[in-house]
Symmetry: C2
C-alpha cells in the first residue's frame, strides 16, 4: 500500500518512523515526490494544495493530520466518492482540554487584568467568585467539545454546551439548534468555540453573536480562524461588549507581524498550539484506518461529506 | 460576648453583617475603638499591631482572618494561654486550588514563553507534553495543600506532596521529613509552596532548594512572602536554575513600586488574591467557634502553639 504524506507543519520523518512501527510494509511518499500517482492508495494530509486530488486517480482514503477536515473540503475539486477520516487521538483531546481549562481559569481569575496591572506596577485585588458561580458555554459537542465541557465541570464551573443537533452529556445542560444557541449565549460569561468549520459555522463569532452574550463576556477560539469575524471582535472589545479574547487559531497562520491582534492588550495570542498532532499516539489511529482500508473493514471517524464534518 | 475586629484589608461592615446573621447578640468592636478592653472576649484579626495582646486582659480566643496564623505569632508578647484558631473555609480552599490549577497549567503549557513571544510578535510553537508527563510537587499537605494536590491530580498531572510529618493522601505519593524533601524536589518540574510560615519554613525557598530541583524548574509561591529568599530567586532565574516564578505573596505587601519583581519577565505577580477571605462563607466558621467558646465546647481548627501552625 502506498501513502502520500503532505504537510508543511508536521514532520514526515517522525510520521515515517511511527507508522513503520504499526505498518512495516507501508510505502510512504512525501509530497511533492509522488512517484507514479496511480499507485497511491491513501493520503495523509494537512492543508493540501488545490488540484491535488485530480492527480491521484486511485485514491481510496483521505486522512486528516488534524482534528478538523475543513482544510480538505477547501478544494472544490475534491472527488465526492473518496472516504475522508478525521484524526481522533485521546492524547490530542487531552491536550485540547488542558488548553481550554487553562484559558477558562485565566479569564475566570481575572488574569488579563492582573497582567496589565503588573506592567503598570499596580497592586489592586479584585473581587473573585468561585468557579461554581461562573457560567461557561462550550460551542460544539463533538469529541473535543464534550471532553472540554466535562473537564470544565470537574473544575467546578457552571458549564453548558451547544451543538447544531441534539446531544446529551451526563450532568451538563446542552442546548441545540438556533433557539438553543440563543439560550446558551445569554448565560455564557466565558464562551469557548470548539466547532468544526463548515459553511454553517463560518463567521459565527460576529457582532450579532457577541451582542447576545452578557456584557463584558470573554471568548476563547480554539476552533478555526474563519469562525471569527476579526473586525467585529476588535469593535466588541472597544465597545466593552467583550472584555477579552483568547485566540489560538487565525485566518492567516502564522499570524502576520503587522496584524492588530498581536499588540491588543485584551487579546491573548497563542500560535496554534492548543492540541498539536503528536505522531507517536496519532499514528495508532492513522495506522488503524490504513489497516481497515487494506482489509476492507469499515473506517473509523469517517466524515459525512454532505455535512463537511 | 464582645469581639474585637482588626484588619486593614477586610471589610468590618461586611463582617458585622455576616456575623450578625449567625450571632445576633454579638457585640463587634472595630479597632482602634476598643471601648473597655476588659470586656473583650475574642479577637478576629489580620496582622495585629505589636503590643495589642497586652491591652486585652480577658481575651479567651484569637481567630485568624486568613488561613495562616503567622501574623498572630509575629508579636512576641502573645500570651501563651489564649487559644488560637485558623480560618478554614471550603470556599477559600476551593479558591486556592483554582489559583494553583491555573498557575500550574500556565507553566505546564509554556505560557510565560508565549506571552513574551506575543510582545515580540513571534509565532513559534514549542513541543508540548500532556499533563501526565509533567511532575508537580506540592510543599505542605494541610487543608490547602491536600486539596490542591488532589485537584492537580484530577487535571492529570503526575503529582507528589511533601509535609514535615508523615501524611497519607489517596492516590498521591507523599514524602516527609528532610530525606523526603530531597526526593520530592528532585522530581518536581513545577513546585508549589503551600506551607505554613513558621521558624522551620522561613527562607526555605532559597538557592540550596532551587539547586535540588530539575534544572529549569518553575516555582509557585502562595504560602507567604517570607518563605522565599528574594535575592536567591533572582539569581536562580538569571542562572537558568529556574525558568519562571509565580508569586502571590511578598515580604512587603503591597509590593513596593520599585521592587524588581514587578518588571522581571520571568516573574508573574498577583496581588495576594489566590484565596481571599470571603465573609459570607468565612463567617460560618468564625461564628461556629465563637458559639463554641460561649458554650464551653472544644474549638475547631485550633493551632498548636508550640508548632506555630
Amino acid at each position: 500500500m502506498a501513502l502520500l504524506f503532505l504537510s508543511d507543519v508536521d514532520s514526515a520523518r517522525d510520521w515515517r518512523k511511527e507508522l513503520a512501527k504499526h505498518l512495516p510494509d507501508l510505502e510512504m511518499r512525501v509530497w511533492p515526490e509522488l512517484g507514479d500517482p496511480g499507485e497511491i492508495d491513501a493520503a495523509l494530509v494537512w492543508r493540501p494544495p488545490a488540484g491535488l486530488w485530480n492527480r491521484l486517480p486511485n485514491l481510496k482514503l483521505i486522512a486528516s493530520l488534524g482534528a478538523g477536515v475543513d482544510h480538505i473540503f477547501a478544494d472544490p475539486s475534491l472527488p465526492p466518492g473518496v472516504p475522508i477520516v478525521r484524526l481522533v487521538d485521546p492524547y490530542m483531546t487531552t491536550a485540547m482540554s488542558e488548553y481550554v481549562q487553562l484559558q477558562v481559569l485565566r479569564l475566570h481569575r481575572n488574569d488579563p487584568v492582573y497582567r496589565t496591572q503588573q506592567q503598570a506596577r499596580v497592586w489592586r485585588p479584585w473581587p473573585q467568585p468561585n468557579a461554581a458561580e461562573r457560567r461557561v458555554g462550550v460551542l460544539g459537542l463533538g469529541v473535543l467539545g464534550r471532553d472540554a465541557a466535562s473537564k470544565l465541570e470537574v473544575l467546578g464551573f457552571d458549564v453548558a454546551g451547544w451543538s447544531r443537533r441534539e446531544k446529551r452529556l451526563p450532568g451538563i445542560p446542552s442546548f441545540h439548534g438556533a433557539a438553543g444557541l440563543d439560550a446558551l449565549l445569554r448565560r455564557s460569561e466565558i464562551l469557548v468555540c470548539l466547532l468544526p468549520l463548515t459553511p454553517a459555522t463560518e463567521n459565527l463569532l460576529d457582532t450579532r453573536l457577541f451582542a447576545r452574550l452578557p456584557r463584558g463576556a470573554a471568548i476563547i477560539n480554539c476552533g478555526r480562524g474563519r469562525h471569527l469575524v476579526q473586525a467585529d471582535l476588535l469593535a466588541a472589545l472597544d465597545s466593552g461588549a467583550l472584555s477579552a479574547a483568547v485566540l489560538d487559531v487565525f485566518r492567516d497562520e502564522p499570524l502576520p507581524p503587522q496584524h492588530p491582534f498581536w499588540r491588543h492588550e485584551r487579546i491573548l495570542v497563542t500560535p496554534h498550539v492548543a492540541a498539536s498532532t503528536n505522531p507517536p499516539t496519532a499514528a495508532l489511529a492513522v495506522a488503524d484506518n490504513l489497516r481497515r482500508l487494506r482489509d476492507g473493514k469499515p473506517l473509523r471517524n469517517r466524515v459525512d461529506g454532505s455535512e463537511r464534518y
